[in-house]
């Protein structure tokens, strides 16, 4: 272990490292207790991130997708080319570039901001919310049904199908020769899924066979939660390692021989 020079103070890069190290320590101080340093860092964080998002959203989304489109649209309009202004080509077919069609989201966006200006007209923001949420819901219906429900149900019997030559061939899966251990695993997986699924039946009181199944379901849930927790610990420590590597290597200039 060789102790090198601490990061220099007077270059842009060095100053940056000092600031970053100071803010890192401010946040770490919360572990002991709340204090003015943490409070300062917390408020700075809120401000810096807000400014950061405004800039990123403007340059990456608002400008290319709306402002530039509208500019092109109005330019075409100025030249009297109505079709192009609204994003239609010569034959009248809709072009991918929306141009003045972006006036619709602009209007919806202004409706949202009306909340600031006029209480009376603030209800118009509901139209924007409805649009926004309607689109998201429409996309969600078939995809959630397919990916989260049907394909997961399929996954629960997938192993059985690939272990059975006939089934595998007709389903186009790669047939596998299953050992006893694999069979046991496949059954455990299915029993776990079915019993945990039964836990989420709200319509029936937990009695009789359902009670037994619920109990088994809860056991599976608990093992799963424990496993996820244990698995996650790694990630959390990784993050700490990342910060320590920064403090030790970049700021204090320690190098490992």
């Amino acid at each position: 272990m060789i102790l090198n020079l601490i990061a220099p103070f007077n270059t842009t890069e060095g100053l940056g490292i000092w600031i970053a190290a100071f803010l890192t320590l401010c946040i770490f101080s919360f572990l002991y207790k709340d204090n003015p340093f943490y409070k300062f860092a917390e408020h700075l964080f809120v401000g810096v991130s807000s400014g950061y998002y405004i800039s990123i959203y403007y340059w990456n989304t608002l400008k290319p997708n709306m402002i530039d489109e509208l500019t092109k649209g109005f330019t075409a309009l100025g030249k009297g080319d109505m079709q192009k202004a609204f994003g239609l080509d010569e034959s009248g077919a809709v072009m991918a570039e929306p141009h003045l069609r972006m006036l619709v989201p602009l209007m919806l966006g202004i409706f949202i901001l009306l909340i600031f200006i006029s209480r009376k007209n603030a209800w118009l923001s509901r139209i924007s919310f409805a649009w926004y949420i309607g689109v998201a819901s429409g996309i969600a219906i078939p995809t959630a049904m397919s990916t989260r429900v049907l394909l997961q149900a399929q996954g629960s019997i997938r192993d059985f199908c690939s272990y059975n030559a006939d089934c595998a061939v007709s389903a186009g899966l790669e047939p596998q020769v299953a050992t006893t251990a694999l069979w046991i695993n496949a059954f455990l997986l299915l029993i776990g899924t079915l019993s945990a699924l039964a836990y989420f039946f709200f319509s029936l009181p937990s009695k009789g066979a359902l009670k037994v199944m619920n109990k088994v379901g809860i056991y599976f849930l608990m093992i799963s939660f424990g496993a996820s927790f244990g698995y996650t610990v790694m990630a959390r420590i990784s993050l700490l390692i990342g910060r320590l590597q920064f403090l030790f290597y970049d700021w204090l200039g320690i190098t490992i021989s």
Binding site: S55, G109, G226
Partner: protein, 222 residues
């Protein structure tokens, strides 16, 4: 009007997006383009939503300063840092891309990165204190939680293999193998059941939004 119009709009946009899922959009230009455009609009709307948020943030802190709140110094921190970063990001960017704005990158690397990463890394400590309190063999459920957590925790790091070798556990009975089995079998089973349930819940809510049954997004819904 104040209710019917939004509900109608949610119905039309929603039904169309759901319908478009089933359409071979490469073959049907009008569906494809409408679909893209609705997508595009939502992307842009997200920006206005952010403006709404930051606007209310600034107003709230300005009020605190006006009211001479004892913590108004911190409100100054929020307002000044928001405006300063936004100024650098919006007005010091030349050309078309923020990627070339060195000052902005410097602020990102030396303010946003350490704050965000350190806040996140506090989890390393919290995970330890939570595990210490929660993982006690009080009953069957808690014991299962404890055992699964302990095996996976040890089995997933290099020292798990070292311990296994020391205890002469090999093959499918080594700690890493058991950890992987727990993740693959019981864990997958439980997660799958939760996922299916959530999938149904998501679909149900989306359906109710489209039919105007679920109006939470309008506040009181009146």
């Amino acid at each position: 009007m104040k209710t019917k119009l939004p509900v109608t709009i949610a119905f039309l946009t929603g039904i169309f997006m759901a319908f478009a899922y089933f359409v071979e959009r490469d073959n049907v230009a009008w569906v494809r383009i409408l679909y893209e455009e609705l997508n595009q609009n939502n992307i842009v709307l997200a920006v206005f939503v952010l403006f709404l948020g930051v606007g209310t943030l600034l107003i709230r802190h300005a009020k605190k300063i006006r009211d001479r709140n004892s913590d108004s110094i911190y409100s100054w921190v929020v307002i000044v840092s928001t405006l300063a970063v936004a100024y650098i990001g919006l007005f010091q960017t030349t050309g078309e891309s923020i990627g070339a704005n060195e000052n902005f990158q410097w602020i990102f690397n030396n303010f946003q990165v350490p704050l965000s990463a350190t806040m996140f890394s506090l989890l390393a400590f919290f995970v330890a204190s939570a595990a210490y309190r929660a993982f006690r063999a009080r009953n069957t459920e808690a014991t299962l939680l404890l055992i699964a957590a302990a095996i996976v925790m040890i089995g997933r790091v290099p020292i798990g293999a070292v311990i296994s070798d020391g205890l002469n556990l090999t093959g499918s009975f080594s700690l890493p193998a058991i950890a992987e089995w727990i993740l693959d079998i019981p864990n997958t089973a439980a997660k799958r059941a939760i996922t299916i349930g959530i999938g149904l819940g998501m679909t149900a809510t989306a359906i109710k939004i489209i039919f105007g049954i679920e109006r939470t997004y309008m506040g009181s819904g009146k």
